[in-house]
Symmetry: D2
Subunit: 337 residues, 4 copies
């Protein structure tokens, strides 16, 4: 195979981005089909990207013979079922995070993936495909910063998207499952270790609407890892300056910081506000290249008949940890793994 | 009184710095006497600073009639006793942190201070007198960043001083009492609130010598405050880049970072290592101006017959919190206040 | 036409990059042919990129009927002749800077372009396609910085490539024609004005080899523009920290700086060298996205039957200005336009 | 002598600052007298600083036997006469820049200083006493950046003080004499070389009021030095972001930048404007410590009976260069020294 025909299911903002990337920016890929229950959205996107095969039903979509692989960006609750169905239909699967919204779901997805060792399955932990995170990890693996002491990672969404966040609150799974999963994935990826305890706090500092879903608008947790490494994770929805995803890795011989200034680009402005950098607006801007790179890796894996570094087990493990943090947050108790 | 005659007890690095500041850089102050059990050190410093009254005995020192006030930079274990003796002798007292090394000691110091309402007592929480911290706090008080969500503060000593830290380990009280007390003071000062729970972890990542004193070379704690604010504190002794004291205050309307680059000065170097800022070497360099400002405030309080903002109760409270963090660190359990 | 078949001539580092971009990263483009007198290089590149049509002769290349457009990255001295030949053969032309190496050549190229109003001609001023430069220009056009007072732009190559620069010195045309042309293009693009005077100085600060070609390893010029704007340009070949292309635009209401820290990515390193950003290594790394964007624009212009913003006249004008700077540098006299 | 009694003449903003520093922050100094023709201003300052001797007449002031040394911050046109009178009266002299406002004046001042080899004379080039500039120069002298290629220095005053600048325009001497003199001093101090040519341009970009004094609101010059070093100086009065004094020294082995972000302090703000540093407001804020350090050096020189590094000849030379730049600016011609 030297051209992978991909079908995209789920045409939210990220789904549309994946579709557009596959249509024009991923080498060896072809956007073959689109699927979304919203017919108007489907027609609009399919028209814009010149896609022939269009489905409002997932069953029909997955039966399309001109699709070799699927990219799933549907609502989180549907992920594991769609993964199983797609694999059973013989399609390679790229799925957005989170893997599932319950531990049981994740285990079911694991089973489905294990049952199809010939198919490529990949989870969308796109930060691993960001040039800066990749560069930092190479330095860590090369021993440049010695032993890892502290891993600190922030995921802050801009306050200006708060209405959307409030509307989505009943389905988001909360700050840890919705946002901190990326930081949890990074923590495991950088340290190569697993957490043994977690303490989590936080609350509603600006928007009480989250409380009714046992969630907050900002939360943090402190994790201890098996190898002794500490991890501090912070997730929030009220950043006034923009989309702030930053990570710090303190080692015994050096410290790395990734995006400690969440800069939009290389322009610095000197005006009545001082000397300033404008910030990334959202994940689509900040991780534009990473979203291309990850699907490129998915496609390359299919063509080169190899498996991606991210496994379905990573997805399960990250979800389990996020659940433990959520429980710690809700109960006020220390969680031990 | 328009000239305050000050005697300095304890001529370690910080004691000598206080003495030199009093001798030449504090308006309205006069360096009147020095006290240190090490006669050679005493003579050397007294000669350099042209001080007449020199004592190897604290009792003789405190009896000197030409001393109006004392600055104590003696070993931590001696603080509370010397505070009481000095106040009883009618001297105003400036004392280095920590107030005491046990809760009982702190309570005793409180009693002594309460018994002398006419005398000025001040603790050396110098960070409150740093221009950048003051500026940041004004912004917080002015409401510029809204409600405080997260207070994050680091105190990292340079790896190059590790030998001294190891030698001092039996007496330091550990990372929380020796270093994080400043961050605890700042957390209370910025939030105006008190912690209700603490979880602490850490260990020996590079130097196992600290383990025998139930201490680590790096540790962190996550605190929840009464008003909901979260605080993450990190203290370490292995920073390869220099003396890194930085603080971040995340609010609902803005975030402030103080010294997130612990820059030595305004020089930026572009060479084969990239574009870089060299870092502060130690507390004496980073807080040079703050050490002057705090003693200036002490002297101004005496002259203007008013009391400093920092109280003895602040000292007790900070110590209690540091102890709780230490207990959490040692036991692995969540502490509740 | 919805697929533009492009042939690339000249397989130096930049030529190979253009070819690879066209092969895999430019929407609507197809890499149809390659041309280079060096047969080994040709075969290697063609094999790597799976290109069928391979030519060591430019005449044969330009006669290939399966080529709609050409991208020329051949030696500068050949540009204008190849432009004319290509246009006469009915091919759209994308040509690397500089347009030509003499004013007469440039005029000839202008004539050729004018003679083919139906064909797209575009010069490779890639900086105009860099996201940061584009963002800055939008701000300038929007009036955000008021009237432009000073335009300052640096083009510094890393010292580590000095051997190549010395070897290329006889053919480079010197610092102004080889490097500062990009800054001159930017100055005209940002100000919308033309220079009226130029004073240039510089010399060999580290490598006397450039002197025999009436060139230096570092040079600068100060230009006055018709609208009063000042421009300071600096070009050098001895930057120890990497590839430093930075621009500052001082306006009456604000200042913009583009890449004043020539950072490689978003990683910040804190180690024994201080707090540092590693730098871009070379133009291929710094302008990786711009090189794709500019060819994308070329292809889009062909497909959408419109003309690019950069004109052949821009190429002539920039060359004339670079020549004037070179004359000023060589003569020590003030040049007036 | 172990206490130097200093009289201050000229109680503008900088004069008052010098007086206050001498009164409270310079070791070995005593503020003994004040002089200003404005009696109200004199009384107010003298009262605030508790100074006994107060004079509205310079002649009376200079005759005061309880004054060992004078600090002159009077209008520039009076400098050289007051220098001579003071030296003739046996007083050590610290004088604000510029030395004089004509070459003839400077020469006269030189003569007066030469006639009193026993007295200390020092010019107020305070930037040499700023910690960052001192640190940078040590690196240059240590050979850390190799041979100097380019010296770039900016002096930009905030737009918010433009009314004062316009009012002062008839007496300021213009951008080069009023502002760029500091940069010229630094260029000579860092390179140890002298300019051989100068080209200067600029104009009124926002405020035409300066034109009637043959001045502009922004100007720049490009200088060539004997040793080949290039210098680019930029002076302006319309900076929207604050007081921007920055310097870059490009060498063959490294580049140093001093205050390329003219930060007020170590606080970074993340809010709706992005990630930003607020800027220094004015020279009194930016150079607060340097103003103390320079007078400390003056006093130390008197006490230790040695001469300062800055000489009267430096004052003359800097003025001559500034005049040449002014001529270049006014004539549009290249100046050669």
């Amino acid at each position: 195979m030297n051209k992978v025909r991909i079908g995209c299911a789920g045409l939210g903002r990220l789904g549309v981005r994946h579709a557009a990337n596959i249509a024009g920016k991923v080498r060896g890929a072809e956007l073959a089909a689109l699927c979304d229950p919203d017919a108007a959205k489907l027609e609009k996107t399919a028209g814009m990207l010149a896609v022939k095969h269009r489905f409002t039903s997932f069953e029909d979509f997955i039966a399309c013979p001109e699709v070799d692989a699927v990219a799933l960006a549907s609502p989180s609750a549907l992920h594991t079922e769609q993964i199983a169905t797609s694999l059973d239909a013989g399609k390679h699967v790229f799925c957005e995070k989170p893997l599932g919204i319950t531990a049981a779901q994740c285990k079911k997805a694991e089973k489905a993936v294990m049952a199809h060792p010939d198919l490529v399955f990949m989870l969308g932990f796109m930060r691993r495909f960001d040039e800066s995170y990749k560069y930092a990890r190479q330095k860590v693996l090369a021993g440049d910063i010695g032993k890892i002491v502290l891993f600190r990672s922030y995921s802050q969404d801009p306050e200006k998207f708060i209405d959307g966040a409030i509307a989505y609150a009943p389905h988001s799974g909360g700050l840890f499952l919705d946002m901190a999963v990326h930081d949890i994935d990074l923590a495991r990826w950088f340290t190569g270790s697993e957490p043994v305890s977690a303490y989590a706090i936080g609350g509603c500092y600006a928007h009480n609407e989250f409380a009714e879903h046992n969630d907050g608008d900002n939360a943090a947790c402190l994790l201890k890892f098996k190898d002794g490494c500490m991890a501090f994770l912070f997730a929030g929805r009220t950043a006034p300056h923009g989309y702030n995803v930053e990570t710090e890795i303190v080692g015994t011989k050096g410290t790395l910081r990734i995006a400690s200034v969440p800069q939009k680009n290389l322009v610095e402005v000197l005006d009545s506000h001082g000397v300033r950098r404008e910030c990334s607006e959202n994940f689509l801007e900040r991780f534009a290249a990473a979203y291309i790179n990850e699907v490129q890796e998915f496609v390359d894996c299919i063509i080169e008949e190899r498996k991606p570094e991210v496994t379905v087990q990573d997805g399960t493990r990250v979800s389990e940890i996020a659940y433990a943090c959520k429980s710690a947050f809700e109960s006020g108790e220390l969680m031990r793994f």
